[in-house]
């Protein structure tokens, strides 16, 4: 499997005095790090420690909607990857629910070409499990994998048919790729606008109950165990889902799972504002769900933070709540949102967050784990934990501004990003 980006000349630089944290290598000390021609060549004890600066392996986002092809008014490969660079990412995986869907060699081939011209940050593409995301026929997974498809998903939709999912699990072995699943039992979540509970009852918004997610996860973990195939569960939102994944792992099912920053930071109480920037699928749930997701991230049941970066046109989000599309942006705010909400108050150790944003997703999808060690390609993010900044519309590199964080002040800024040996972002 392959990631694609613009080619260019590797950079040479030295980053002095930062606290270098590489959870995968057990490294946590103040070092001067030298990169020559894109390769980390020297780690030396720092003469002076720079206050608040942390250097870590750059982030990997396994769940990004680049909206290309079809909705280039919302995001392009160029703008989406620029946003990723600004967010500290050295690799992203793009979802196939575009128009047309990434379900054929022709569509994937064109995207790969575009990424070679435009992608600031190495980008991988997932192919769809079913043709046209219709949930009826499998895509030509072997051919798509040969062209570079990193994994397969019908994200945005569940694979409703258990029979088709079973075939997909079996056949994905031929392509040597994993399936990543959006878990939603559609007859239970039908028309759902938000989490089903006290807040939806009061607002009158149709409920999308937690059991609609956990029911489907239960079904799919059963199928994965039966077929002895690995599975990746996308954007967990509910306590019962975390429990199901934890129990399956204990039984030996090869399951990985991700969680989004918004599910870790917000609850359905936020929907009382009827702000369309808190409308997402799966929906924000209760405080006990949020606590369970955080615990799952801490104990490793959930190995990845994924932004589910979902750009939407301004005029589509400026609509009544029920009419607005699901989804929020996240690439440029993920670290700061999680640092501000979870790490600084002491709810999540910084090395754990850094691991779940980098090595965790890399391992889940078989990508090289970014490391800070001599001889490694430089994939680095330099963070200033003391920096405070306000999230505003004009600060985004993304082409869309549908962020749930607009107007908020966050702590922790991405000062520099090095991806594949090249500096792709510098404040």
């Amino acid at each position: 499997m392959t990631l694609f980006s613009r080619t260019g000349v590797p950079d040479t630089l030295t980053i002095r005095g930062a606290r270098v944290i590489d959870p995968a290598g057990g490294l946590d000390q103040a070092l001067d790090v030298t990169v020559e021609d894109g390769i980390i060549t020297r780690l030396e004890p720092a003469a002076d420690a720079a206050r608040g600066l942390v250097l870590a392996p750059a982030f990997i986002d396994p769940h990004v909607h680049l909206r290309t092809p079809g909705r280039e008014d919302e995001e392009t490969i160029a703008t989406g990857t620029a946003a990723a660079a600004a967010g500290g990412y050295c690799a992203i995986l793009a979802m196939p629910n575009t128009d047309p869907v990434v379900d054929s060699a022709a569509v994937l081939g064109a995207l790969v070409e575009l990424a070679r011209e435009e992608a600031v940050v190495p980008t991988g593409f997932m192919g769809s499990i079913s043709k046209g995301l219709r949930g009826e026929e499998l895509t030509e997974m072997a051919e798509l994998a040969a062209l570079g498809a990193v994994a397969f998903t019908d994200d945005g939709h569940p694979v409703t048919s258990a029979g088709l999912l079973r075939r997909a699990l079996q056949y994905s072995a031929v392509a040597h790729r994993k399936l990543a699943l959006h878990e939603e039992e559609p007859t239970l979540s039908r028309d759902g606008q938000m989490h089903e509970g006290a807040v939806s009852a009061e607002l009158g918004l149709a409920g999308w109950p937690a059991v609609a997610e956990s029911t489907m996860i239960g079904r799919d973990l059963g199928l994965a165990a039966y077929e002895q195939r690995p599975l990746h569960i996308m954007h967990l939102s509910a306590s019962v889902s975390v429990e199901a994944v934890r129990a399956a792992k204990a039984r030996g099912v090869a399951v990985t799972a991700e969680v989004t920053p918004h599910h870790l930071c917000l609850t359905d109480e936020a929907v009382r504002t009827l702000d369309t920037n808190v409308k997402m699928n799966p929906p924000l749930r209760t405080e006990s769900d949020r606590a369970a997701l955080l615990e799952g991230l801490r104990d490793g049941t959930i190995c990845c933070v994924a932004t589910d970066h979902a750009p939407h046109a301004r005029h589509e989000k400026e609509a009544p709540f029920e009419e607005a599309p699901f989804g929020v942006t996240g690439l440029e705010t993920a670290f700061a949102a999680l640092y501000t909400t979870l790490v600084e108050p002491g709810a999540l150790p910084l090395p754990t967050l850094l691991e779940r944003m980098s090595a965790g997703p890399a391992r889940a999808f078989g990508l090289p784990v970014p490391r800070i060690a001599e001889g490694e390609t430089a994939n680095l993010v330099l963070l200033d934990l003391e920096a405070q900044w306000r999230v505003t519309e004009d600060g985004f590199r993304s082409r869309s501004v549908n962020s749930w964080l607009l107007g908020r002040t966050l702590k922790g800024a991405v000062v520099k990003t090095v991806a594949g040996g090249r500096v792709v972002h510098a404040l």
Binding site: E196, E202, L274, E318, P320, E322, E323
Partner: protein
Amino acid sequence: MADIRLADEREAPPRPLRRHLLGVSDLQRADVTRILDTAATLSRSLEREVKKLPALRGRLVVNLFYESSTRTLSSFDLAAKRLSADTMSVRSSGSSVDKGESLKDTAVTLAAYDPDVIVIRHPQIGAPQLVASVTGAHVVNAGDGKHQHPTQALLDLHTMQQALGRLEGLHVAIVGDVLHSRVARSLIEALALVGARSTLVAPPTLIPRGIEAMGCETTSDIAAVASADVIYVLRMQQERMLAGAAYVPSLREYTALWGITPERVRPGQVVMHPGPMNRGVEIDPRVADSEAALITSQVRSGLVVRMAVLYDLLTSGPVEVPVALEVA
């Protein structure tokens, strides 16, 4: 006949530049009391030969209706006219909405006429919030999807107060399709605000999960209506009960288990319904036409309460009510 003098707005202290009535949660108990007092005073003005008051002369009230409506639209329109405001009604059919104009653009277009109040009804939750955020007008929610219909709740409180003489301590049984009802949501909240109690009586499939957090009880046993002072019957929305939706197996079974028949109404109870009624489904015609039914009082209350809401949004302070001297 009472002499009715409305406070002169020019003498009024400054208020917040914009106020809205998007939901019952915009109100505190004192606001409800003030609006109901104003409504009671205004209702006396409607007993006069000349029913028009000059209070809102020169003001513009726009009624923006994206859903069909008889009583709400007509009563807002008449309420504004009785207070001498200019009114303009825009309906979704036959307007630019037919041409695909977004709610935001329609609202901004109408805002160019500088209306004082925009009254909006829309099938989608959050539409009034959107209009409030893109225009400078006071916005009144006349019903948004299954969310809120605050003036309905206020007129229901007014009707109960007129009929039963009090609100605090009343017990109201709300019977029927709570799940799809903005009327129920507003009423539950308003009843809690004034210290009344509500019990929802409905098939389990039509009780929203978690609604008890609003401060009501729930049951599926129709016998629970016996202890209530008020039986509030919700409209059974037939279009929602079609095959496939599976909320109830049939309207016939619904009527048998939850229909309000004369046998289920105890002497001394009053029966209310927001309209339009499905006679013979949620309410027996013999109940609808009985002395116990307050349904036409609700319509009359609708007019004065909406007058009171418009008055309250656009002017300051309570209507001046002459105080009767009590002689010991």
